[in-house]
Subunit: 443 residues, 2 copies
């Protein structure tokens, strides 16, 4: 039976070009988060099974990759470890384990693979990168606003165009239910339905609300208020009647006033109908939408009890997650030509191996990517073809005539122009090329 050579279902190999694009994006994100004083955290790929199970709900528990016990216990078919499913449960464990060693507030980012045994599909993987930043230990709206600013700067830095923050608060939503007289028992269901206003027609949403038991008039009134051109204003008015709603509005306004000057006003909208699916949020919530992209590319909010629920200490928290896999799809594609080398050095004859090796070293010393030809052909045309395949900008050619003249021929691979450079002057010449080549050399 032939062996399969593709990576396991739902996983990917990353060859150089794609990997370099990913790593560049990840490095930019890291540097933005670091500038905000968020510090990195890395936890193991797997956790004890009991740390993960029961934290994500029954359906998600089934998607956890479990690791078989080893040695004499392997035969039991039992698992004792499992691949991490997200970066939040490990954060809760870390907060519990290192308590006093961590600064207060603890501002950390984490970026790395997580694993979910989901059915693989278009853009849905079993191994994918998550990127989270969170601040634990403060209830300040400054922490909420800081996360939003950092996510904004990361998206802007990556070159994502036409993105916008939708901002709301869980307390606004609670106040909304109160203000419109929605019975407490219907609340969660009503919010789930309202969250569909960006996908369904208002009439469909109203019908679904009625189906959930809301009187028809009330359902119509609610949908009308949420979809009006001046929805934010109408909801603001309606919320004044609710204590919880007023407190929620204050939260939203605090965050908005901190964002002023940091995030362009046209990139943030108070969006009362934005619900966020997850039930653990307790305060400000937000998501980022981008033109022409269904769903969100980043999201987050305040979750003041989640860390404790996940087994960590009782600390308030707020954070966000960049949907890096989706965001990577939005970035401008790299050029067609993949630059493996800046400088390709020919080896026209075995006796030139050592000097050619030295020329490549001189190019590297100038900060350029350089290597020698290692194929079997002694033909210049074949070696230059190799140089071109490597994306090299310059080829260094050294043959009999060069040896006699004490020169190296430097060929510009784009123009085909060639210059004989004295061996003694090569280092300086390469240094000048290196400065011209800018940052490309260092990888």
């Amino acid at each position: 039976m032939p062996m399969q050579f593709d990576p396991p279902s739902g996983t990917r190999d990353f060859l150089a070009r794609e990997l370099e694009t990913r790593e560049r994006a990840f490095a930019l994100i890291r540097s933005v988060f670091a500038r905000y004083g968020f510090e990195p955290l890395a936890t193991p790929a797997f956790e004890r099974l009991d740390v993960l199970m029961g934290k994500y709900g029954e359906e998600s528990d089934k998607l956890i990759f479990k690791i078989l016990r080893r040695g004499e216990h392997e035969g039991t078919g039992e698992a004792d470890l499992a691949l991490r499913y997200d970066l939040t449960v490990p954060l809760a464990r870390v907060a519990a384990n290192y308590g006093s060693q961590l600064p207060v507030p603890y501002k950390r980012y984490a970026m790395g693979p997580v694993w979910r045994a989901d059915r693989p599909g278009r853009g849905r993987y079993r191994e994918f990168t998550q990127c989270d930043l969170d601040t634990l230990g403060t209830s300040s709206a400054m922490a909420d606003a800081e996360v939003v600013c950092a996510v904004h700067d990361a998206l802007a830095g990556l070159g994502v165009s036409g993105f916008r923050f939708l901002l709301n608060s869980r307390r606004v939503l609670a106040g909304l239910l109160e203000a419109f007289g929605v019975p407490a028992g219907l609340g969660p269901g009503v919010l789930i339905t309202l969250d569909k206003l960006d996908k369904l027609a208002p009439g469909e949403v109203a019908a679904e609300l009625t189906g959930r038991g809301l009187p028809e008039a009330k359902a119509g009134e609610l949908v009308a208020a949420m979809t009006a051109a001046d929805a934010a204003e109408r909801i603001r008015d309606a919320l004044k009647s609710s204590e919880e709603g007023s407190a929620g509005l204050d939260e939203v306004d605090s965050v908005l006033s901190l964002l002023a000057g940091q995030v362009p006003a046209e990139r943030v909208d108070f969006t009362p109908r934005m619900v966020r699916g997850l039930s653990y949020y307790t305060g400000p919530i937000w998501e980022v939408v981008a033109e022409g992209v269904p769903g969100s590319i980043a999201s987050g909010g305040r979750y003041d009890h989640l860390i404790e629920q996940l087994g960590g200490p009782d600390v308030p928290g707020t954070g966000g997650s960049l949907g890096v896999e989706r965001i990577l799809l939005l970035l401008p594609a790299a050029g067609d030509r993949h630059t493996r080398l800046d400088v390709a050095v020919t080896v026209m004859d075995a006796r030139y191996a050592a000097p050619s090796f030295g020329f490549a070293a001189a190019a590297r010393a100038a900060g350029l990517r350089a290597s020698v030809y290692m194929g079997a052909s002694g033909k210049l045309g074949r070696q230059l073809k190799w140089a071109s395949d490597q994306g090299a900008r310059w080829a260094l050619i050294y043959g009999g005539a060069d040896e006699e003249a004490g020169t190296v021929t430097v060929r510009d691979m784009t123009s085909g122009e060639q210059n004989a450079v004295p061996v003694s002057g090569l280092a300086g010449h390469l240094a000048r090329l290196g400065r011209g080549a800018g940052a490309a050399g260092a990888g």
Copy 2:
């Protein structure tokens, strides 16, 4: 039962300080490898079970972390996937899968975690980082020498001191057995024993050789030749009688002549008694030893049939591996003070939250790490204590007097010196501080 909060046995959490040290080292290694034209490769954390099993020998197979089948198959207790055990088997799979898409030769590096269910111990982990670079598809000694040069530059760049390459060739070893008339059947055992010459006394090694069935006189002769002050010369002479040995010497000399000028001569020794445990090597082999460190910190060699044996195509290969976990222990420790922030901004009163937020943004725009105080205290002393705990070099203080005067107080956290800077001039002032702070800001 209380939950355990430490990471699973044999794994580690990396908090900011240690993680930053690791990432800096990894980034340096990557940039060195890239300068040699090696390109990065990343493969999934897990592979199909059949890709891994039977590749490492029976004992090692037991150390593979197996992943339980999911869904309806979970009850069977069977595994279908397993965490990767090294980076070489995935390389063989990638070489088989992407054949014609890969350049020839294919020069790649990979750096990432691998997992082994070894008994955890001092410096032995179940999740640890491996770092490999390999060149597939060429038999040229230039490829062997290039790997050695790249490893040399990486170690030198990391600041590892007193390291040295021991260079040998499998063919030298084969020639040695021939030259000393060791019966073919005893060869592998004799090499295993000779490899102990750096740990055992010559007499002990000779005794072990005799135990393996070598005549006492021959054993003594062999050990004497290997341990003589002029061992390399004596072995060179002895090898002349063997065709295989002569070919091996030529290999060693080819690599040495390419290294001349790239790797200081005192850092490479032809070391005929250096065996390397693994049986798959076919040509030049090398390892790196460092002063005061038992064992090797890097190693590698040519393995012209391994990729095929591992299920890949029949291509020659040569490569090396940096023992990054061991190397990290050798690096100078970072200073005691951990710089989370360059600039810490006080928030003396809730009404200064927005301007303070803006000052932090200005500092970040100048490339500095900056954040605002988010604690509950309105006392300057407490806020400066926080700034100091963050390792901040400057604090920006903004209070009532500043508001009236239109200034921000910039405090040098080392000297305690304070300057009132006009708000309008703050960006320029911070830019000057940023230039002085150099690269520290960008993380």
